[in-house]
């Protein structure tokens, strides 16, 4: 069943990227906060969970939750100094913060093992389920995606979600209507952080090994591609985008088997396509594949 295994692996990765993309989508799509360093949150979730489980011997569930909290806390921390600034500054600050987290993981060997990475990260229930572990993990990820999707939909449909859209479309209007926009921005960075941290922790326990190399800025660009192609302010769009971009990314591997093109060229070409996809979607179909849904209230009163 090797092919089935590979397919399950791919679909598990779809799920992890879908979580990751949804976290960015909440910040960018709903609240209009440009975050070019989302990979930092992913990394924090992954490292926190991995280190707590491997080094402190805590249960995996505790690790995952701690990973989420660490990443959510980092969101607050990052949002604090920038909360009153224009969104351009967010873009730059987050881009830089993403690199700082990676540098920290690379340089603080006493804590993170530096470039060696964290090895032998335990997997949930690994002793109990043996043969079909891939399938088990895939189902686990699927359930997490479904739950997160549901919770995020509840959030974005709520007055909180409406406040986010108002900040995105007209920040001073929200202020004039009594919204504490700074607090809301901190909240949304925290929630986005929680979800990205969750994605990171799940990733770490799936890969069994993480190192700073996993968290290069490239990952952030990939998920940007996902939400722009899939559709901003639409969680289904984020999931669809994750599937499309990830499929494109992996399938170029297969193309390489049939078309004689150097692998370096292939990788460059792949990123050119993703860059151009971002640009042309924003010009010709800014809403993405799945557009933001209009919220209507049927006559119920």
């Amino acid at each position: 069943m090797p092919i089935a295994n590979f397919t399950i692996y791919l679909f598990t990765m779809f799920g992890i990227y879908a979580l990751f993309a949804m976290s960015l989508n909440l910040q960018v799509g709903y609240a209009g906060l440009v975050n070019f360093g989302q990979v930092a949150f992913f990394a924090l979730g992954a490292y926190t969970s991995a280190l707590l489980v491997v080094k402190a011997g805590l249960p995996i569930a505790v690790g995952i939750i701690a990973g989420m909290l660490a990443s959510g806390f980092f969101g607050c921390l990052l949002a604090w100094p920038t909360k009153s600034l224009k969104s351009d500054y967010w873009a730059i600050t987050t881009l830089a913060a993403g690199e700082v987290i990676r540098l920290f993981a690379l340089n603080e060997k006493w804590l993170t093992e530096g470039p060696f990475g964290v090895m032998n990260i335990p997997q949930p229930l690994e002793g109990l389920i043996d043969k079909y572990y891939n399938i088990f993990y895939f189902i686990f990820v699927l359930i997490v995606v479904a739950v997160v999707y549901m919770l995020l939909s509840m959030l974005t449909d709520s007055p909180f979600g409406r406040n986010l859209k108002a900040i995105r479309d007209a920040e001073d209007l929200s202020k004039s209507l009594g919204k504490n926009t700074q607090k809301i921005k901190v909240q949304v960075m925290a929630i986005g952080g929680l979800v990205a941290g969750l994605a990171g922790a799940i990733f770490a326990h799936y890969m069994v090994y993480i190192s700073p190399e996993n968290f290069r800025p490239l990952e952030t660009f990939l998920i940007w591609g996902m939400i722009i192609v899939g559709g901003r302010a639409n969680n289904r769009g984020a999931i669809l985008g994750a599937v499309v971009i990830q499929t494109f990314y992996v399938s170029t591997r297969f193309v390489g088997n049939y078309v004689p093109i150097g692998s370096d060229l292939m990788s460059a070409a792949r990123m050119i396509v993703i860059g151009l996809l971002m640009v042309s979607f924003l010009i010709f179909r800014p809403e993405g594949l799945l557009r933001e849904r209009k919220k209507t209230y049927p006559d119920e009163v």
Binding site: V28, A91, I92, A97, F221, S267, I272, L282
Partner: protein, 304 residues
């Protein structure tokens, strides 16, 4: 390290960054969005210059000028084909910013596709350094300082003694008014892209000459360049130069400082020498950026 050496190193770093920051700050100011592809075009232009110089055998200065002009033209073309339309559509700054990010990814990888990931080295004589006031400096670095100085004087003249410069300053001073007035702002904006990218190419080439040329060069300097522009106050080209020099100085000082005495609390504890790991060097500009944003987001020369 000798203080004279710190000053020389800071000057060189500052000179390279300022030519990049000038264009970034102009575009940011006039069009209202951060151009994340700015440094990528600098690297792209440096590659063009390298190609002219070492493959076609054109003289180095001429190659750089040609590359700068060509990249400037690309800037104009991109404005005509993309940004002008988006401005007409009143696209949000967020959209513009993400487009430049996407564009940056594409340009970076186009360079990779054309010139491959392997590094290029501008053919330069490798010479032992000269010693000036105790500081070591190479002839190439002296040349870089010289060209940067000339470029900055030229920019000053451009800003104050040409129709373009006057229009640019007018728009910068009062954007509402300029939009309403008869100034042909579309044409002016295109000139601005041209100047911004040409200067970026000069800066990028200087970086490539001093160090190395490779496709990710543009991405590696994006944070310092932004930091310099913000430090100097967005929209202020002189501020950008000052910001770049300040950043260069800060980077060099912080990395050579020994924090040991500070943490020993006046000799109470023996902590030995305590220096920031050089691995954190790229993080210095980020720390400065955060500090500026916290204390004075309008930059050193900016108004409140």
């Amino acid at each position: 390290m000798e203080i004279s050496q710190i000053i020389v190193n800071s000057l060189i770093r500052g000179a390279e960054l300022s030519l990049l920051a000038i264009g970034l700050t102009m575009v940011y100011d006039i069009l209202g969005f951060a151009n994340f592809a700015h440094t990528e075009f600098a690297a792209f232009g440096a590659f063009l210059g390298f190609t002219f110089n070492s493959l076609l055998g054109i003289n180095l200065l001429l190659s750089v000028v040609l590359a700068a002009l060509l990249t400037g033209l690309i800037g104009i073309l991109l404005d005509l084909s993309i940004f002008e339309k988006l401005r007409a559509r009143n696209a949000k700054t967020l959209t513009m910013m993400i487009i430049t990010m996407g564009m940056g990814i594409a340009i970076r990888n186009i360079s990779r596709l054309i010139w491959t990931s392997s590094t290029k080295n501008f053919p330069m004589p490798l010479l032992q350094p000269l010693k000036i006031l105790g500081a070591r400096i190479t002839r190439v670095q002296l040349g870089i300082l010289f060209i940067a100085a000339i470029s900055m004087v030229a920019f000053h003249l451009l800003l104050h003694h040409t129709k373009f410069g006057k229009a640019l300053r007018a728009i910068s001073d009062n954007k509402e008014l300029a939009r309403a007035s008869a100034i042909d702002s579309a044409k002016m904006v295109q000139w601005m892209w041209f100047v911004a990218y040409s200067y970026a190419v000069i800066g990028g080439t200087m970086l490539a000459i001093e160090h190395l040329l490779y496709p990710r060069l543009g991405f590696d300097i994006i944070i310092p360049v932004f930091c310099a522009a913000i430090l100097g106050g967005i929209g202020n080209p002189y501020g950008a130069v000052l910001g770049a020099l300040t950043l260069g100085f800060a980077e060099n000082v912080i990395i050579s400082l020994d924090f040991g005495p500070l943490f020993s609390l006046g000799g109470l504890f023996d902590v030995g020498s305590l220096q920031l790991s050089t691995g954190y060097k790229p993080a210095i500009s980020f720390m400065i950026l955060i500090l500026v944003l916290l204390i004075k987001p309008t930059g050193i020369l900016g108004e409140n």
